[in-house]
Subunit: 63 residues, 6 copies
Amino acid sequence: MMPIVQVQLFEGRSLEMKRKLVSEMTKVICDVLEVSPDVVRIILNEMSRENFAIAGTLVSERK
Amino acid sequence: MMPIVQVQLFEGRSLEMKRKLVSEMTKVICDVLEVSPDVVRIILNEMSRENFAIAGTLVSERK
Amino acid sequence: MMPIVQVQLFEGRSLEMKRKLVSEMTKVICDVLEVSPDVVRIILNEMSRENFAIAGTLVSERK
Amino acid sequence: MMPIVQVQLFEGRSLEMKRKLVSEMTKVICDVLEVSPDVVRIILNEMSRENFAIAGTLVSERK
Amino acid sequence: MMPIVQVQLFEGRSLEMKRKLVSEMTKVICDVLEVSPDVVRIILNEMSRENFAIAGTLVSERK
Amino acid sequence: MMPIVQVQLFEGRSLEMKRKLVSEMTKVICDVLEVSPDVVRIILNEMSRENFAIAGTLVSERK
């Protein structure tokens, strides 16, 4: 039902990292919000460093 | 103008399905909200089963 | 499971309109994508005309 | 820098719950993705049960 | 048509600031992307400091 | 810190355009909202013309 979580992260994380991330985030959410795991949905949005900017500079161009 | 609709769906739908989806969703929106079709925008976000989790498990790993 | 739909619309729609909108959008989505209704989630984001701009002008200020 | 996390949840959670949620989610993210805490941003979007539908029915109207 | 821009900002900005923000952002977008102003849509999402966290701490609680 | 900006645009823009877009948008945001550049984050979401519809028609199919 709820909550729905969206994570914007840089591309290139291993399947193992993703697996662990959604599993542990779901545990935390269920503990704190007192909901059952099956209502938790997590969407991972992978993005290129060329598509994210901080302070006006694309991350792909920093340093 | 409005509304702007965003649909998160699994990748791999045919062009024909997408075409039909946006056409029929737009019809429903115009009927119910009494707006004209040209103010309706629909964004389709296709995602991998490796990037979506339910109950703490990536969909690509279920079963 | 999927799809997750987000609709940005102006505030002030009646409960009846919202009820009809989510019901008919869900029907269309199930028909076209061949999914069962219980995997469809729709989020309505209501917004003020002061928080939406077209062509550089807030909608609250147009005309 | 990254990641940026957005959590859609029903309105009405206490400040204490929000505080704990962002603190523990950040810890998990840092552990799994091996990033430092100051690059993690979390946005909470609270929504009314009248603005979320499952299976074509607004949550405010279920049962 | 495109682009659609979404700005997450803290609540409490004056109407004058919003007006200027959307007007100048639209100008920049049209200049750089070579699109006409009427295809640019900007959505402002105002949020409470209680709903945004950095480094695991809600902004409302910092300092 | 804030604001976080998300730009949905068609794929195929050059790196130079993206670089200029984020740099000039950040300048405008800092000027108008009176924030320092390092709190501004911009996410570019590139999308296919097959995944965006106006008035019920995918942009890839228009005219």
